[in-house]
Assembly symmetry: C2
Homo-oligomer: 294 residues x 2
């Protein structure tokens, strides 16, 4: 494998992703704020970097997979950040979910150093990261995309190039937006059915056969029926993503009445202390607003 890879951010998602690259035979240099998390990667053959700058200096492709917009700014543009180590002709790939506007700024800063950037947020959660079946939504120029594609193919299945800088983040925001309102619809339908004395499990089955079908009704709907809110995808992170959605709407001047409501209901979920539960817990928020919890 010709390209050396830097991997920054070894959390729930980043760790299994970096491991796939090590296992695929890439020379991988890893960095994580909490250093102990790098140990399993180092045991598997990865090198340990002293800083994001160091990781970038040793790599042709540097991947970042951290929690939020400020974290990405910090590891790329901050002191000892990627931008200080990155060489002309190399590529930075941010796979975190962050604000589209911020992505474009970071890409511009990196371009000044002669480095290309892709935004490549993912969906599919921890399970997708472990199984190597993530969906990857990519923005940036086509040539850069082609060069990184073999790396993406070690991490995911549904890999789509959507346009220039930020197009990946915009698409991810659209994904979270659609999810939020579909989940809200299913949660409210189940609350209505329960209160009317109709079994929501039967409602789910009946609706799956028609136009109201969705993967949310199928998967998250079943979780709601089982009252199984073990993550899955944590409400805390989803709440963060809904902040990105509504902020993107603000930044672009697009009114998003539905997304705004869903974001507020996730705020209620956070207030109830549901941050570490699966984001389908919105069903509990909805049903507990009503007359009697099921």
């Amino acid at each position: 494998m010709g390209e050396r890879i830097g991997f920054i951010g070894l959390g729930i998602m980043g760790r299994p992703m970096a491991m796939h690259l090590v296992e695929a035979g890439y020379e991988v240099t890893v960095w994580n704020r909490t250093q102990a998390k790098a140990a399993p990667l180092v045991d598997a053959g990865a090198r340990r970097a002293a800083s994001p700058k160091d990781a970038a200096a040793r790599s042709e492709i540097t991947i970042t997979m951290v929690a939020d917009t400020p974290d990405v700014r910090q590891v790329i543009l901050g002191p000892d950040g990627v931008i200080e180590g990155v060489r002309s002709g190399s590529i930075v790939v941010d796979m975190s979910t962050i604000a589209p506007v911020a992505t474009r700024e970071i890409a511009a800063a990196l371009a000044d150093r002669g480095a290309a950037m892709l935004d490549a947020p993912v969906s599919g959660g921890e399970k997708g990261a472990i199984d190597g079946t993530l969906s990857i939504m990519v923005g940036g120029d086509a040539k850069t995309f082609e060069r990184v594609l073999p790396v993406f193919q070690k991490l995911g299945k549904n890999i789509v190039h959507l346009g220039g800088h930020g197009a990946g983040q915009v698409t991810k925001a659209c994904n979270q937006l659609v999810l939020s309102l579909t989940i809200l619809g299913v949660a409210e339908a189940f609350a209505l059915a329960s209160r009317a004395g109709v079994d929501p499990a039967k409602v789910r089955s009946a609706l799956l056969g028609g136009f109201a079908q969705s993967r949310v009704l199928e998967l998250h709907g079943q979780r709601m029926l089982d009252r199984n809110f073990e993550p899955g995808f944590r409400t805390r992170l989803y709440h963060k993503d809904m902040g990105i959605v509504t902020e993107a709407g603000r930044a672009l001047g697009v009114p998003l009445l539905g997304a705004g409501l869903a974001a507020q209901l996730y705020q209620v979920a956070m207030s109830h202390g549901f941050g570490e539960l699966d984001y389908s817990v919105l069903a509990r928020v909805v049903s507990e607003m009503g007359p009697a919890a099921r």
Copy 2:
């Protein structure tokens, strides 16, 4: 075929449905407020009734398929209505989409005359009625359901018995509720993507591969991209259904924040004069609230 069938309401949906029953060899007696609409059925072998009362008097199973709750009350409980002609041991099947509470009242009134009732609203629209592929959501007692099932099987494919009186209408309301928020999610996502300079067609393709997948994204999403708002299912009727959803929430004391918002946005669609367009026209309402229509 032993059971004689009365069919009341020969609109866009009722006409092809009644025709399937005539073609299946049932003895069908039809009635419609605008009498001319009965002509094609009569040509095909149906009898013409003088009133809903008359249709019911000549039938073991009387089906109503009209526009709204007041229409159902009128043809069943009003002067010369079904209730005046219905015989003990016969069955009234209301396939209209109406308020669940009203259904239960009508069922009780019919029970006093010794007649059973099923609520059996459908989804699948005009195309489903013509093709005989409607989804049929049925409430009422199981024995009555079994007796009518062969008739339903001439009209639809996905036929589900969901519980006692009103369970069919509750399920239909859930169906419309889930649809409304899924449509709103897709509409807002496309508006956000367009404004951000990302091709919504690419967003649709990318999202169809993941958790945001839905039949709405697939079918109505494509309509939105094509700006093809020929019905399909008319906004005017969908707006009526959203009134049933929010009224059911009120009657049962269930807060439905998402459905309430969607219902108001369909009110905006009506104000814009979109009543005769397909209900996916919500995408126009959403995008025209924003900076510049695509």
